[in-house]
Each structure stands twice: as C-alpha cells, then as structure tokens.
Amino acid sequence: MLLAVLIANSEGNILVERFNGVPAEERLHWRSFLVKLGADNLKGVKNEELLVASHKSVFIVYTVLGDVSIFVVGKDEYDELALAEAIFVITSALKDVCGKPPTERLFLDKYGKICLCLDEIVWKGLLENTDKERIKRLVRLKPPTEF
C-alpha cells in the first residue's frame, strides 16, 4: 500500500497531503516526521536525487524538485524500489505541468492540475498510471495515444 504522498514547500509547510489507510490520529505524526526528515536531509540535495529512509516496517523515498519537497511513504509491496518508481512518475508529471522544476508560486498556480495528476497516478494507495504523456492526456480527459 502506498500510504502517503506529501508535498511541502522549503519551509516545511504542507502543500499537498494525501493519505491512504493511515488512521486520522497518526497523520499528524507522519506529517511532522516527514517534514523533519526533509529538514534534516534535503539541504543541498540536487533536484530529483532520491533519498531513502525506513521507519519501523515502512519505507520513505523523498526528493526535492525546485522549491518543493516530495515524500512518498509505502509498506509491503511498496518498498523503496516501488516508491522510487512512484516518485519518478510524480516528479515527471510535476515538471510536465509546470514546465520546469516549480517555484512554490508556480506550484500553487497549477494546483488544480497537479491534484488531477496525483489522482491519476495514485488511486487509494495503488499505483495506477506511470507514463507522464498518458497522464498529461488523461487529466484533460483525452484517451491515451497508444490506443
């Protein structure tokens, strides 16, 4: 299960937070844990360089893209490698929507589109689409090109 996708700005404020199968009372804990993890480790990290951590039986893969940090959390079959795949899809889609690694402002300007992309990528904890070209079309309700 892909437990969470969280996107924060450089100060650690949450921009997008989507949990799946995480009880409401644990969400705050996860949020602060991830933000602290980012604050401790993401300084000076290059765009899209993936970092990894594990906490109990849960894996976390995270990275920076422009002004935003992206975290994905998973367990069981969503181990560090599957999460790396998921975060790769997310960063590609973000770059596609924003045209470049986004500033915080640009990210918020494209907020609606980004939500739609995330909706296409992760659906209730399962990875659904992985190809950015296809995602780009799907958010505009266009069928995939290969079809």
Binding site: R27, E77, D79, L81, E104, Y111, G112, T130, F147
Partner: protein, 889 residues
C-alpha cells in the same frame, strides 16, 4: 483566484504571494454557490474546486452539513459540457466521499457517463462509482464493470481492474465472479492493464494453490510487459516455490532458472525482487545464493541511495541466516559505514556485526564508536541489539563489548535507547557468568545518574536478585542506599526492597541493613515507610544474626503467582461491594483466562531484558508454569522441565487455528493445544482434543482439561496429559482430532449465540515427541573451561557415518536440531567450501544433567559425511543416551 495578482516578470517577487493567501473555509463555501448558477462559468467553477481541494489537502475538514451542501452543488456541474470541469468534478466527488443516502443523487449521472461513448468519461465514472458505491448498487453496475475489464481502451480496463482490487476488500463474492474477464485482461498487450489484472487475479485466487501455480507456470513462459508486473510475478513465483519444495529426484528447485534469469533483467526493480526471492528460498544452497549475492554486491557501490539501501537491506536479512554468504561483501559494506544516509550506514554496521568473526570485533567496535555520536536514537537501538547478539555469539569478547555498552550508557539518549542498552547488559550478565560482576557495577553507576524512574526501579529489582550472589555483595549497598537519599519516592521504595533482599540473603550484612532500613522509617512517603516496616518485621529487625526463614525468602524473591488481570478484577469488585472483611488474596482465581499467546513467533523471538526477568511475570516459560500450576490435575507432576516452541497443527488461514506446546515433566508430558476460532459467526463450546497415541507406546493418557468456550478471535487452551517412564527419553507420534460443540452466533457484535449447538470435529495434523524435547538449550561462556571442569569420567566417544549429504552445513544443522542443544561460540556456522568442521554444543538434559558435546565433521568428494561425537556429562547414562539419540536419528 481570491487575491488578484499583478503578473511580474521576476519570479522571486511572485513567490511572495500565494494564490491561496488568506484562504478561509467559510469564504470558499460561499464562493461554491456559483455551482448553482443557471449560466455556469466553467473556469470560475474549476477555480473554486481547486480551492476546495487545497483546503482538503491541508487537512481541513467539512462538517456534515457543509459537505452535503457542497456535494449537492457539485452534482449540478454535470450539466456543464466543459471537459476540464468534468474532470475536476469527478475528483471532487471522490474527495467528498458522500454518505450512502446522498450517493443516489449522482448515481444516475455517473451511470450515464459509464455508458458514454467518450472513453474517458467511462473510466472516470467507474472510479468514482466504485469509490462511493455499496453492495446493492454494485450488483446493478456489475455487468458494466465486467465489460470494462476487457475494454479496448487500457485506461478504462485499468480503472475497472483497480476498482476491483479495492472492491475485493468489501464485496469479495461479487468481484470473484469476474475472474474470467480478469484472466483475459492478464493477456492484455497494454503493460499496465496486465499489471493490474495480475494483481487482481492473484488476490481473487490466492487461496487456490493450483490456480496460482498454473498462473505462474504460464506467465513465466510467456511475456510480461512491465517491470511492475514482473515484480508481482516473481513474488507469486516465490510463493509457489515455498509451497512446492525441492524436486527430490533431481534436486532441482522449480522456477529457480526463471528467478536467476530475472537477475539479468534491465529494470533494477526486477533484479532486486529476484535477488530477494532467491535469498529467502527455504534451505537455499550456496550455489543458488551466489548469483543473487553477486548482483547485490554490485549495487552496494551504486551512486543512487535507493539502490544502495535496497542492496544493504537485503544483505542484512541474508546475514541473519547465511552470514558466511555475505562475508565477500564486507569490504564494500565497510565503506558504507560513512554513508551520508544514516539508514544505509546503520544497516551496513549491523550486517557487519552479524558477519564479522571474532578477530574483527575490536576493529569493528572502533569504527562504530565514531559512528554512534552522529545517528539518531532509533538507529542506535538497532546497533545495540546487534552488539548484544554479537556478544552472545563470541562470549570471550564480552569485555570490549560490555565496555562499549557502558560507555554509550553514559552518553545522552532517550528512554527507549537507554532501555535497550540496559536490557542488553542484563542479558549479557545472565548468559555470560564472567560478565556478571562488571555488568552489575556498570548498572550501579548508571543509576547514580539516571533520569528514568522505570529503569532505576528495574535495575534495583535485578540488583536485589543478582547482587547477593556475587563475591562481594557489600560493595553494592552504597549505590542502593544512595537511591534512598537522593531519588523520588518510587525509586526509594524499590531501593528499600533491594536492601531487604541483601539482608535476607547475606547474614553478615543483616545488622548493617537493619540500620539503613530503620532510617527509612522516617521517610516522608507512605510506601517507603510501609515497606521498611514490613521488611524489618519479616527479617526480624532486632538485629540478631539469624538465618532468614525460607518463607521470608519466598516472600521476597518469589513471584506473585496470580495473574495481574485477575487481581485487578477482584480488587475492583472488592471496592465496588464494600465489606467489613479484609481483602483475601486467596480469593483471587489463579486460572489464566483465555489470552492471546504471543509465542507463535517464538523462533525469531528476541531475548528480552529487564522487561521480562526470568523470575518476572511475563516470560513465556513462567506463563506456562503458571497456567499449568493453576490446573489441579497437573500439580502433582512436579517441576516443569521444558516447554517446546509451538508446533502448528493447522495450515494458515483455516477455520480453526491450533498449535501445540509440549510440556515435559520428569514422569509426564502435557500437551497444551492453543486454539483460535477464526469464524465470527461461530461460538465453540466444550472444546477438547482426542489424542491417538498408538504410535507412542511408552505413553499412556492420564488426564485432560477441556476448554469451556472458544469465542471468535479469543485464543483459548485445552490440555491432555500423558504418563511416561521416568528418566527415559520416550519418543512417539500422536494423532489429534479436535472435538467441540458449535453454536451459531446471533449477534456478532456482542458474541451472543443460540442456545442449541451441534457436535462437530476437525482433523488436526500429527506431531511427534522427539529426543530434543528432553534437552534444554543452555549456553556456556567458555566451552573449553566447562569441558575441562566436567572431566573425562563419563566421556563417551564414537564415530558415525552420516551418508551422502547435501552439504557440510546441512549435516551440522541436522545433528544440532536432532540433539536440540545450544551451539556455542558461533560454531554452528560452517564456512562455505570447508571440508571439515568442529561444532561445540551445550545443554541441560532431563533430570537437570549438564551435557557438553564436541562434534567433528568431515566431508569427502562424494559428499559422504563422517562424524566423531564426544560427549561429557554428569552421568554416564546420559552420555550413552546422547549416543543412542544420534545412532537412532
């Protein structure tokens, strides 16, 4: 958006303003009224939805009324023809997840979209409907979903398949009807459709071994289009291998070639999955393991942290079972100690601790000392655990490892970390007699400056039990009495009890202990004063040097043989029904109510430290002893010698889960059947096991204790006792049939059942009592000393041919398991490719006889293994018996 923005060319200035600056829920809900406009402004509506999404993503919640209002307004947007807006509407409805009574409003619109000619409407409508639907609606749309699974458009098919995966949790019986369509989708040319279909098909059929095996056989030969699907297939293959075992004729393992082939796949994800699958094969040979280890080793020096992490994590697991296989990677692993990523560094360290040999311990400890200062507590705990295991493996190295532990104990750290260190020191003290005195002193120094009351009291308790048995007990008194002067009331009370224990055990210290205890009579805390008074009285506080009464010692050192939950219930009842009579502890029932027994995981159980001292109430052995002593029929059996690990008598995921624990007494064995009822609709009563001992001639049944009631998911126990000849390691096979009365549960929430039941029975698997059941694993810290001091009086030496074996390691582990003894000094590990090996074992044989065994193995080119067995024990019969066990095994 809410705040009009002036576009500027300079990006940096732009960043100061957020389009959501000052966003406020009330205002956005007001704005949402535009959804009701007769002339819809699609762009504006999309903007408002974006704001609503932003609020929800920030963790904002809507009240029931707010959500309903927004939901109803959003449904109006189905009128708009704007495609962008429609996509937003789908997302918004999912986010709002309307309640069952509201769903009806959108179902017709969604059903229409589901049959729309626009593919993408279909895909999205499916996803929304499946998100908000319940069972009844699902049966109405099932036909469309089945069609969608085989839809030509991959997005529609994927939407239906992923919906199926989710719906399987809530409506399994419906989704299971789709397996033909899903089967067809597995053959799809679209990569993701195949991936989703494979996942769903496996979930539908996961309990049907034959079907899974067929699926794996056909797909491993066919084409799998995406790395993700390939990973799933590897996982399922690994499951099939686990269940099918090695081909006994050819010695080949089915599908191994497929897994090995995947090691050369271009996607890293697949390579790792295959390597992991190989490393967890049961009884994996060195030949099978080598290719997997080789690829993992390459990834250790990858530039990507995720790959380094994945590699070191996998190797860490391998090191637990096959430490020698990982030693080749040690050099790469050592360079990871300085890895920027602390998770990787910690895994590298703990792997090295597992694979290192005795000579490398000191060098490793030096490296770790530098590393410890810059990692977080959670990583430190992992390292401490690994060091404890290392110390138990190489007891001769206890000095440097104990020093390391005491050094880190003095440094800053949180409770969990300190507790891990203290637990480790306690375990080392217990298992390595030579380490006792220095370990106790380290603990004493720690409590001089310990900020955690819990740890102080636990250490004081432990000190009271162990300190009096040391060569110079008086040196601990100062540390204990300091607690009485300096600490809070809880710690002071513990210190008083500890002082009393020293007084009880050591007569020469008694007068001095009395002086200290009398000082405690003036403490300002009730509990401390009470304890001091109690102990002065029980120990005979007149200061005379007399031997302490046996009852008093029992009172001070014995464990409370009443389950604490029973005690709590009795006390609560007592308070609720006030009475003139004082509370009588004998009125508390000793019988342990059905409780979830955690020892299912016993084989991989970590040794616990202070949390479960051997005399404490939580250790498994103690729990067993208490359970058995509460059954009057078994009290005459004497002292429990050994309890085996639970043996499963049912397969996983059956209606009733049963395992058995074999309790060995001098002249009896008691089988404890731990039963769990996994059917919520059933209540079992009068549960017992009919045991057929016709293949266990020396055993005769003498009694049993049925279980009155076994409700759903609350484990309970039933027992059967057998008599056997004293001192003889009688063996035999037992067949078992579970009998019970089953009653239907009327209300699953309360567990209320019908009055009438039906008698039924359930066949359990057989199990055996083997020679190893009469042996307790007890290690010695220095085998050579123990061997010399045992002397050659009852030594028996003989040689055996073990015939052709798979490998030397396999032969060694077979003999160890046959004898059930504790391997000493890490000699259970056989270096790969070695032609000979020596193994040292120690144990306690029934009748409390110490036994030591030296095994020497040799293997020749044709894999014939020869073994020399030398036994020393305290009794010649026992030495002979060990030979008999090997000869007949």
């Amino acid at each position: 958006m809410a705040q009009p923005l002036v576009k500027k060319d300079d990006d940096r200035d732009d960043e100061e303003y957020s389009p959501f600056l000052g966003i406020e829920k009330g205002a956005v809900l007001q704005e949402a009224r535009v959804f009701n406009d007769p002339q819809l402004d699609a762009r504006r509506c999309s903007q408002v939805i974006t704001k609503l999404l932003y609020l929800l993503n920030q963790g904002e919640t809507f009240t029931k009324i707010e959500a309903t209002e927004v939901f109803f307004s959003v449904t109006k947007l189905f009128q708009s023809r704007d495609i962008g807006l429609r996509r937003m509407v789908y997302l918004m409805i999912k986010e709002l997840s309307p309640s069952a009574d509201e769903v009806i409003i959108v179902t017709s619109s969604l059903m229409k979209d589901m049959n729309s000619r626009t593919d993408m409407y279909r895909a999205n409508a499916i996803r929304v409907l499946c998100r908000i639907t319940d069972g009844t609606l699902l049966t109405q749309i099932e036909r469309y979903l089945k069609q969608a699974i085989v839809d030509k458009n991959p997005v529609v098919a994927s939407a239906a398949l992923v919906s199926g995966i989710h719906l399987l949790q809530t409506n399994p019986e419906i989704v299971k009807r789709w397996s033909n369509e899903v089967q067809e989708a597995v053959q799809s040319r679209a990569a993701l459709v195949q991936f989703h279909a494979l996942a769903l098909l496996h979930q539908i059929r996961q309990n049907d071994r034959l079907a899974v095996s067929k699926l794996v056989t056909s797909l491993t030969k066919g084409t799998v289009r995406s790395p993700l699907a390939q990973c799933l297939l590897i996982r399922y293959t690994s499951q099939v291998i686990r269940e099918s075992g090695v081909n006994t004729q050819t010695g080949d393992r089915p599908f191994y070639d497929y897994l090995e082939g995947c090691l050369r796949h271009k996607a890293e994800m697949v390579i790792f999955e295959a390597a992991r699958a190989i490393t967890v094969l049961s009884g994996v040979t060195t030949r099978e393991l080598t290719p997997a280890i080789t690829v993992l080793q390459l990834f250790l020096s990858s530039s990507k942290p995720v790959l380094r992490f994945a590699a070191v994590r996998t190797l860490n697991k391998v090191a637990m079972t096959h430490p020698m296989a990982v030693t080749n990677c040690n050099i790469d692993m050592e360079s990871l100690i300085s890895d920027q990523n602390r998770s990787i560094a910690t895994l590298a360290i703990t792997t090295l601790l597992k694979t290192g040999n005795e000579s490398s311990v000191d060098r490793l400890m030096k490296q770790i000392t530098n590393f410890m200062s810059d990692i977080a507590d959670e990583f430190k705990i992992v390292v401490v655990d690994a060091i404890r295991s290392l110390c138990l493996k190489f007891p001769l190295k206890y000095r440097s490892l104990m020093n390391f532990l005491s050094n880190i104990l003095r440094e800053e750290g949180g409770f969990e970390y300190k507790k891990a260190i203290v637990d480790s020191i306690v375990i080392l003290i217990r298992d390595i007699p030579d380490a006792k005195e220095s370990g106790l002193l380290h603990l004493c120094e720690f409590i001089e400056d310990c900020e955690f009351t819990y740890l102080s009291t636990q250490i004081l308790h432990f000190l009271g039990n162990e300190g009096p048995k040391t060569s110079d007990p008086s040196k601990y008194i100062r540390y204990i009495y300091n607690r009485v002067i300096l600490e809070n009331a809880t710690v002071r009370a513990s210190a008083v009890s500890t002082l009393a224990k020293f007084g009880a055990m050591i007569d020469s210290l008694k007068p001095r202990i009395f002086i200290l205890l009398r000082r405690c009579l003036f403490d300002n805390d009730d509990e401390v004063r009470d304890r001091a008074t109690l102990y002065l009285n029980t120990l005979g506080g007149d200061g005379s040097v007399v031997e302490t009464d046996k009852d008093v010692k029992e009172f001070l050192f014995g464990s409370l043989d009443i389950p604490l939950t029973n005690m709590e219930t009795s006390l609560k009842n007592y308070i609720q029904n006030p009475s003139e009579e004082p509370f009588d502890i004998n009125s508390v029932p000793k019988e342990v109510k059905s409780q979830p027994l955690v020892e299912k995981k016993a084989p991989g159980k970590k040794p616990t430290g202070l949390g479960a001292p051997p005399t404490g109430p939580t250790s498994t052995a103690d729990t067993y002893e208490r359970i058995l002593s509460s059954i009057p029929e078994f009290t005459s059996f004497g002292k429990l010698f050994k309890s085996s690990a639970p043996v499963e008598l049912t397969e996983a995921e059956t209606e009733y889960a049963v395992n058995v624990v074999k309790h060995i007494f001098d002249r009896h064995v008691v089988f404890q059947y731990n039963c769990t009822n996994t059917i919520p609709e059933q209540l079992l009563e009068n549960v017992f096991v009919i045991v057929d001992a016709s293949e266990a001639e020396e055993f005769s049944e003498v009694g049993s204790k049925p279980l009155k009631s076994l409700p759903y998911d609350t484990p309970g126990q039933t027992f059967v006792a057998f008599e056997k000849p004293e001192g003889v390691p009688a063996v035999g096979k037992f067949s078992n049939m579970l009998r019970f009365t089953v009653k239907e549960v009327v209300d699953t929430s309360t567990g209320e059942a019908e009055d009438d039941g039906v008698e039924d029975e359930y066949q359990l698997e057989d199990f055996e009592v083997v020679a190893a059941d009469y042996m307790v694993k007890v290690g010695v810290s220095n085998f050579r000393n123990a061997w010399e001091s045992m002397g050659p009086d009852f030594e028996r030496i003989d040689e055996y041919g073990l015939g052709p074996r798979e490998s030397l390691a396999e032969a060694v582990s077979t003999v160890i398991n046959l004898l059930g003894m504790q391997p000493c000094e890490g000699t259970e590990v056989v270096p790969s490719n070695s032609r000979s090996h020596s193994c040292l074992l120690s144990g306690l044989y029934i009748g409390n006889m110490k036994v030591l065994v030296r095994l020497s193995f040799g293997i020749d080119a044709s894999k014939e293994v020869a073994m020399k067995l030398a036994v020393r024990s305290e009794d010649e019969n026992v030495s002979d018996t060990i030979h008999d066990i090997v000869a007949s095994g």
